[in-house]
C-alpha cells in the first residue's frame, strides 16, 4: 500500500511524495501529482497552448477553411467547428492554460478517459487530418488505434473514439 501512493517519475524512476508536481531528482513535470489525477500532460507553460504544426509541404498549398460537424454520439451534442489552422480536442483546464476548441468535459470526458490535450484536427490541401497527441487512452479512427503524433486522413462520416467517447465527423468543404 505504501508504494502505491508514491509517484514514480516516468523519466528517471525516482519516487516522489504524492502531491509533488516536479520530480525532485530530474525536474520532470508530474501532472498527476500522485493518486489524484491520472493523465500525462506534456504542456509545461501555463500560458501557451499552441502546438507546432506539421512542416509545410513544399510548393503551393491551398489553405481552405473547412467546417466540421462533430456529432458526439454518447450525449447527442453536435459541435460545429471551422478548421483554419487546427483545433484541439480535449478537456478544459484553465489552470494549465489548456483551452481546447472542442472541450469534451461536459460530455463526460473525464469519465470516458479523454485527456486534457487529447488530439487535434487540421487541414492540408483540402484534406482533414486527425492526430493523437499521445493521449493516455488513445484515439481510434473507425475502430483502429492511431499511432501518436502521426496524421491520419479523416473522411466524411468517419467515427472517431477519444478514449471511449464516440463521435461522428461530418466534413463540409467550403
Amino acid at each position: 500500500m505504501e508504494t502505491k501512493n508514491r509517484v514514480i517519475c516516468p523519466s528517471c524512476g525516482a519516487e516522489n511524495l504524492p502531491g509533488t508536481l516536479f520530480c525532485v531528482q530530474c525536474g520532470t513535470y508530474l501532472p498527476s501529482g500522485g493518486p489524484l489525477r491520472t493523465e500525462p500532460l506534456p504542456e509545461q507553460d501555463g500560458e501557451e497552448t499552441y502546438i507546432k504544426p506539421v512542416p509545410e509541404t513544399m510548393g503551393k498549398t491551398t489553405q481552405r477553411t473547412m467546417h466540421l460537424e462533430i456529432d458526439i454520439l454518447d450525449t447527442g451534442r453536435k459541435a460545429i467547428l471551422s478548421v483554419e489552422r487546427e483545433i484541439l480536442v480535449g478537456r478544459l483546464d484553465t489552470a494549465h492554460g489548456i483551452f481546447p476548441a472542442l472541450d469534451l468535459t461536459a460530455d463526460g470526458g473525464l469519465e470516458q478517459g479523454v485527456s486534457r490535450r487529447h488530439a487535434r484536427f487540421y487541414t492540408r490541401d483540402g484534406t482533414c487530418f486527425v492526430e493523437d497527441l499521445d493521449s493516455t487512452n488513445g484515439t481510434f479512427l473507425n475502430g483502429e488505434r492511431l499511432t501518436p503524433y502521426l496524421p491520419y486522413a479523416v473522411q466524411d462520416e468517419d467515427t472517431i473514439m477519444f478514449g471511449t467517447l464516440h463521435v461522428k465527423v461530418h466534413i463540409y468543404n467550403e
Binding site: E2, P18, G19, C26, A95
Partner: protein, 496 residues
C-alpha cells in the same frame, strides 16, 4: 476594574478629539449623560451604557494611556504598507498512509507607491585590482560619476577602492559635493590582487558613520575577481551589518568572479547579487539599483513559518522579484530583506505533510514581520494555512500563478543542482541535470537560455568543465525569469 475594547472609538462616543484634556472629556461626558439618561425624554439605555463605558476608560489617565497604546497598535495594522495572501496547491488533501507534498505561495504586494522620503547613505566599493586595468576601470569610474547625477544632493556617498588593501577615496560626503568625488575618482588606478573583505569593511565603516533610521543604508560592491580565504569573514560581517540595518549588494563584472560567494554575501547582507557581463553595462545597473533603493517602502522583512506538529518545511524559495533559495540558517525564520514599491514579492514554501485523519486542519501559522521605512514602525501580521483532510480524492485546479512560479523555480533549481554536482566532481549528474533544465527552459519558451544550457553540456562532456560565462548567464538568467511581464526590464543578466 473596568475593561476596555480597543476596537471601540471612545473618543467618538464622547464626542471629543483624541487630544482632549481630562477636563474637556469630563464636560462632554456630563453633557451627554444629561441628554441620553434613560429618565430624560431623549433617553436611550444603549447609548447611556456606551457613554458610561467610554468615560470609565478616558476619564482615568492611566487607563486612557493603555487604551491609546492599544489603539495605535491596531491602527498600524490597518495601515500596513503591503497586503499579503497565501495560495495552496491543494485545499483538500486525501487521507493517505504516506506523507504528501503541499506547495504554498505567499504573495506580498506593496501598497503605497509614495516615496518614503528617506535619503540614501551609500558606499560604493570598487575593485581596482590589476585585472580591472584599462577599459573596465574606466567604465566603472564613469558609472560612479553617473550615480552622483541620480542621487539627491543630500544623499550620502562614500567611494572606496580596494585591491589587497582598501583605500577610502572619498569618505561619506553629501552627494552635492561633486568635485570631491570626481577628483578622487580621477586618482583611481589599478594594481594588485583582490581582497574583498578589506574593501567591504572600509565600506561598512563609512556607511556606519551616518547609519540611522533617517537613511537607507547600503553598500554596493563591484568586483571582477575572486577573493581567497576571507569569504567566511566577509559573509559574517554582512550578517552583522544586516542586523544593524545596513544592506550589501554585490555586482560581479565579467566571468572570473566567484558567483557562489557573491550570492552568499548578498543574501547574508539582505541585498541582491547581479551579473554584469560587460563593463559598459555597469552604469545602467548602478542607476537601476539607486532608483530601486529610492523605492524601498519597508525593510527587515521576516517570514516566520510555524508548522503544526509533524509538518515539515522542506524548502523555501523566493520566487519574485527574482529567484533564490532562501537562507535557512535561522531555521523556519526566513529573511526577506527589503520591499520595493511596484515590485511584488512572492515566496514559495514546500511542506511535507504527515498522514492524518479526515477533518479540517491548521497546517501552519505564518508570521510576517517588517519595519515600515516611512514611519519606522515595526509591523507584525499573521495568517493561518488551513487545509481540509478528506477520505476521498478531490480534483481541484492548481492556481495558475502557483504553477507558473513553480515551473520557473523548477528550471532554476535544476540548473543550480547541476552546478553543485559539477563542483562536487559529478559530471555525469551535472550534464543530465543541465539537459533537464534545458528541456524545461525550452518548454517555457526561453530558447536562448536552453541553448546556453546545452552548450555547457557539450563543454562539460568534452572537457569536464563549464565556462564561467555560460554558467553565469544561466544562473543569473534563470533567476530573473520570475515574472514574464517584467522580465525585460529586470534581467539579472546585463549587457550582452
Amino acid at each position: 476594574m473596568a475593561t476596555f475594547a480597543p476596537q471601540e472609538d471612545y473618543y467618538a462616543i464622547l464626542e471629543v478629539s483624541s487630544d482632549a484634556t481630562t477636563e474637556e472629556i469630563r464636560q462632554s461626558y456630563q453633557e451627554l449623560v444629561r441628554r441620553y439618561h434613560p429618565d430624560s425624554p431623549k433617553g436611550n439605555t444603549y447609548f447611556f451604557r456606551k457613554i458610561r463605558q467610554a468615560y470609565q476608560v478616558l476619564g482615568e489617565p492611566s487607563r486612557r494611556r493603555a487604551y491609546d497604546q492599544q489603539r495605535r497598535q491596531r491602527n498600524s495594522d490597518s495601515t500596513l504598507p503591503f497586503t499579503w495572501d497565501t495560495k495552496l496547491s491543494r485545499s483538500t488533501l486525501p487521507t493517505l498512509t504516506t506523507s504528501q507534498m503541499l506547495y504554498t505561495l505567499v504573495n506580498i504586494r506593496p501598497q503605497s507607491t509614495e516615496p518614503v522620503g528617506k535619503r540614501l547613505n551609500l558606499a560604493l566599493v570598487i575593485d581596482c585590482s590589476a585585472s580591472m586595468k584599462g577599459t573596465p576601470l574606466h567604465y566603472v569610474k564613469m558609472a560612479a560619476l553617473d550615480v552622483l547625477k541620480f542621487m539627491h544632493p543630500n544623499d550620502i556617498l562614500a567611494i572606496i577602492a580596494f585591491n589587497d588593501r582598501a583605500r577610502v577615496l572619498t569618505p561619506s560626503t553629501p552627494a552635492r559635493n561633486r568635485i570631491a568625488f570626481s577628483s578622487a575618482l580621477a586618482s583611481l588606478s589599478s594594481a594588485g590582487g583582490t581582497e574583498i573583505y578589506q574593501g567591504l569593511m572600509a565600506g561598512l565603516e563609512q556607511v556606519r558613520r551616518y547609519a540611522s533610521d533617517e537613511y537607507i543604508n547600503h553598500v554596493l560592491l563591484l568586483t571582477d575577481g575572486r577573493t581567497y580565504g576571507d569569504e567566511d569573514r566577509a559573509v559574517f560581517e554582512a550578517q552583522q551589518a544586516y542586523n544593524q540595518g545596513i544592506y550589501i549588494s554585490a555586482f560581479g563584472i565579467g566571468e572570473e568572479w566567484n558567483d557562489k560567494f557573491l550570492d552568499d554575501l548578498a543574501r547574508a547582507g539582505g541585498g541582491i547579487s547581479q551579473y554584469i557581463s560587460s563593463p559598459s553595462a555597469v552604469r545602467k545597473v548602478l542607476r537601476e539599483q539607486i532608483q530601486e533603493l529610492n523605492k524601498s517602502i519597508a525593510h527587515k522583512l521576516r517570514l516566520h513559518v510555524k508548522p503544526a506538529d509533524g509538518v515539515q518545511l522542506q524548502s523555501a524559495y523566493r520566487a519574485a522579484p527574482y529567484m533564490e533559495l532562501l537562507d535557512r540558517t535561522l531555521g523556519n525564520v526566513l529573511k526577506l530583506g527589503r520591499l520595493v514599491s511596484e515590485e511584488p514579492m512572492a515566496i514559495l514554501l514546500e511542506f511535507i505533510v504527515p498522514p492524518r485523519q479526515a477533518g479540517p486542519w491548521k497546517l501552519a501559522q505564518l508570521e510576517l514581520a517588517a519595519e515600515d521605512l516611512g514611519t519606522g514602525e515595526k509591523l507584525i501580521t499573521r495568517q493561518e494555512l488551513k487545509v481540509n483532510i478528506a477520505s476521498e480524492v478531490v480534483n481541484e485546479p492548481l492556481p495558475p500563478q502557483l504553477f507558473n512560479y513553480l515551473s520557473r523555480i523548477n528550471a532554476f533549481r535544476l540548473q543550480e543542482n547541476a552546478w553543485r554536482a559539477l563542483d562536487a566532481g559529478d559530471t555525469k549528474q551535472a550534464t543530465s541535470l543541465l539537459e533537464a533544465a534545458a528541456t524545461q527552459l525550452f518548454d517555457m519558451g526561453y530558447g536562448e537560455l536552453a541553448q546556453a544550457a546545452m552548450l555547457e553540456v557539450g563543454y562539460i562532456a568534452r572537457g569536464g568543465t563549464s565556462t564561467g560565462r555560460g554558467r553565469k548567464k544561466l544562473r543569473y538568467g534563470t533567476r530573473s525569469l520570475s515574472i514574464p511581464s517584467i522580465q525585460q526590464s529586470r534581467r539579472g543578466n546585463h549587457g550582452n
